[in-house]
């Protein structure tokens, strides 16, 4: 799960940064007689940190931009064989047609809304968010997803849409092959 990886990395980085701040804070009350050289080496360290940050930045962005979820050319236009499902949000329910699929099938959800902004959040049978797109009046967003496991998936609303926001969900059945 992406979420777990992101959690691990974030907590590690946040923890290290917190430790640096805590360390500096703990040692701050003891004055340093010779501040000049210390500050000079700190600025040298900053240059290295800057270089490291740029390397990480370029690397991660390069990777991430290779995995964009945006569909420039939906299957129907490009002539690919792919299952189409229409998903429409309306205060406060989802209509997904069709809503049963089989494992391994790649589905393109044509997501739109009849009234206000909604969020089409696809949850797997273990209630992990696996994909999402916004459902907007006047626009149709195409979300492509390949079902990996059998069971009952759920669609939750992921954009606040009024007082029934939390009850706005529907089920999608995915059968084993």
């Amino acid at each position: 799960m992406i979420q777990d990886v992101v959690w691990d990395i974030s907590i590690a980085l946040m923890g290290s940064l917190a430790a640096v701040f805590a360390g500096v804070a703990a040692g701050a009350e003891v004055p340093l007689t010779n501040y000049g050289p210390a500050i000079a080496s700190a600025y040298r360290l900053r240059i290295w940190l800057f270089a490291l940050a740029i390397v990480v930045l370029v690397g991660v962005n390069y990777r991430a931009l290779g995995a964009l979820p945006y569909i420039a050319n939906p299957a129907e236009q490009s002539g690919l064989a792919m299952k189409r499902a229409d998903a429409t949000g309306q205060q406060w329910s989802w209509t997904v047609q069709p809503n049963s699929f089989v494992v391994g099938q790649t589905v393109e959800f044509y997501v739109t809304s009849k009234d206000v902004n909604h969020g089409f959040g696809l949850y797997d049978p273990h209630m992990h968010l696996v994909a999402q797109t916004q459902a907007m009046p006047g626009f149709t967003n195409v979300l492509r997803y390949t079902f990996a496991q059998p069971g009952t998936y759920q669609v939750l609303c992921l954009e606040y849409c009024g007082l029934g926001h939390h009850i706005m969900n529907t089920q999608i059945n995915v059968a084993a092959r």
Partner: protein, 484 residues
């Protein structure tokens, strides 16, 4: 300190009184809004019963109120320090507070009388689609409240801009553009407070007028529903305004760090070329980074979203490498004596820097696909707003209260705030990585442990904030000291 002598001591007293008035409003509203936040967490934890209707009203008020006082608190910090370097009008500063209070009354009325629960972002066309639960007048009162508050802030930032231009000739010089690009010696650059204020003025003037446009359009739509406009354009305008306004609050509050920490460490804040370059770039990035709110709007042109991701990453660098690094080197074995004020501003920088990390993670498109609008989002923004921006503001408050006020409890307040805040944001982040959606009045049983941990953290934060704010309010009994 020559600049201070230029201003008469009488105007200093009234100016200090005005800053105190700002902080009194901020302190009281902050406590109330924190209680609303705690109520939401307790309701999600199923420790108390709150009707979803009321929950969403509370959510809307919590959002609008917190954004409002973040802007107000940031303005108080900025104005207090920047007036050492530029001429500013106390009348306009006070007028902004008056506008704010009028707007706040309208907004509170819209929520608790009109039942408006369209979230603080009033995402078009939701205000006009209440499902019968709030009236057009309720929504209009909310938006009119925001407009009134916007008028005040616009005037304030225009006045700051006027002051900067009158001393430095132009906003470019106020920002240190020449120093940033090596056209002028570093030592002639503007002080940090001026550079930060210039950035805040530029960003907020643009952000607020964009917000005013979308507010007016939404109001027209509310009363003439046949007058519709493009929902995606509206979304862009709203997030442009919302992002800029809330982001800039941190850049205003950080002036407290630049001005207060050196008093403790006896080391001047170094303004070198990297510092000015960081502020120039931050200005550009604050004005262009908002598309990271729209990464799940597939209808957006892809290049804008890609730019949004890259700018999100880049915008973390000045924060981490200049302000956080500058703070660490300034404090490092300086021999300072920690007290509540120094501790809070230091925590503020740490919270800001640390909060940047989960924010950048969420600004990465494949991560955003599975994290957007989960509790990861309140998780990261509470890190840099609660533990960052608000900590700086509370630090400023504590600093103004001075050492004379009762201070035995102050360290306890700081520790409660820090520990409670950490538990609170970690509960959000953990829930977010477990796919718990944000802005849900009712949670599944599986999500309750996060909510309960979050509630405990939130209670501690409220207790800590209560101590610090009451301490500040008590300190007001002593007369204003004309000598700083």
């Amino acid at each position: 300190m020559t600049s201070i002598e230029a201003i008469g001591s009488r105007s200093r007293i009234s100016a200090t009184a005005a800053v105190r008035a700002y902080l009194v409003v901020c302190g009281i509203v902050l406590l109330l809004m924190m209680l609303l936040g705690l109520t939401m967490r307790l309701a999600q934890a199923q420790w108390i019963d709150v009707e979803p209707n009321l929950f969403y009203v509370i959510m809307t008020m919590h959002g609008a109120g917190m954004v409002g006082i973040a802007g107000l608190g940031g303005a108080a910090v900025m104005w207090h320090f920047v007036r050492r370097y530029i001429p500013v009008s106390t009348g306009i500063f006070i007028a902004n507070l008056v506008f704010f209070l009028i707007g706040a009354v309208l907004i509170l009325g819209a929520g608790f009388i009109g039942g408006f629960a369209g979230a603080w972002t009033f995402l078009y066309p939701l205000p006009d689609h209440s499902g019968g639960l709030w009236s057009a007048n309720g929504a209009a009162a909310y938006m009119a409240g925001l407009l009134v508050i916007g008028v005040g802030f616009l005037l304030l930032h225009l006045d700051i801009a006027r002051g900067i231009i009158s001393v430095y000739g132009g906003l470019g010089s106020g920002l240190g553009v020449k120093q940033a690009f090596g056209f002028a010696p570093e030592k002639d650059g503007p002080p940090p407070a001026v550079a930060a204020s210039t950035m805040a003025a530029i960003s907020n003037i643009i952000g607020i007028v964009v917000g005013a446009v979308v507010l007016v359009l939404s109001l027209v739509n509310l009363y003439v529903p046949s007058f519709t406009f493009n929902t995606l354009v509206a979304k862009n305008l709203i997030y442009y305004f919302g992002h800029t306004f809330i982001n800039v609050t941190i850049y205003m509050a950080v002036i407290a760090v630049y001005e207060i920490l050196p008093v403790y460490t006896h080391r001047a804040w170094k303004t070198n070329r990297a510092f000015y370059l960081a502020w120039v770039l931050s200005t550009l990035m604050v004005l262009t980074v908002y598309p990271h709110h729209l990464l799940m709007d597939f209808a957006m042109p892809t290049w804008i979203l890609v730019a949004g991701q890259i700018i999100s990453w880049l915008s973390g660098l000045p924060v981490l490498l200049v302000t956080a690094f500058g703070t660490l080197t300034n404090v490092y074995r300086s021999g300072l004596k920690w007290d509540a004020a120094a501790g809070l501003v230091f925590i503020g920088v740490a919270g800001w820097a640390i909060g940047v990390i989960p924010a950048i993670a969420d600004g990465t498109i494949p991560v955003n696909s599975v994290m957007h609008n989960t509790q990861w989002v309140p998780g990261h923004f509470h890190t840099y707003l609660l533990l960052g921006m608000m900590a700086m503001m509370l630090g400023f408050m504590t600093y103004l209260a001075g050492p004379k006020s009762p201070s035995r409890l102050a360290p306890l307040g700081v520790w409660l705030y820090l520990i409670g805040g950490t538990i609170f944001v970690l509960a959000f982040l953990a829930a977010g990585s477990a796919s718990v959606p944000r802005r849900y009045a009712v949670h599944l049983p599986a999500w309750l442990p996060y909510d309960r941990a979050g509630s405990i953290g939130a209670s501690l934060v409220v207790a800590g904030a209560l101590i610090l704010i009451v301490r500040f309010l008590v300190s007001l009994r002593s007369p204003i000291d004309a000598t700083p």
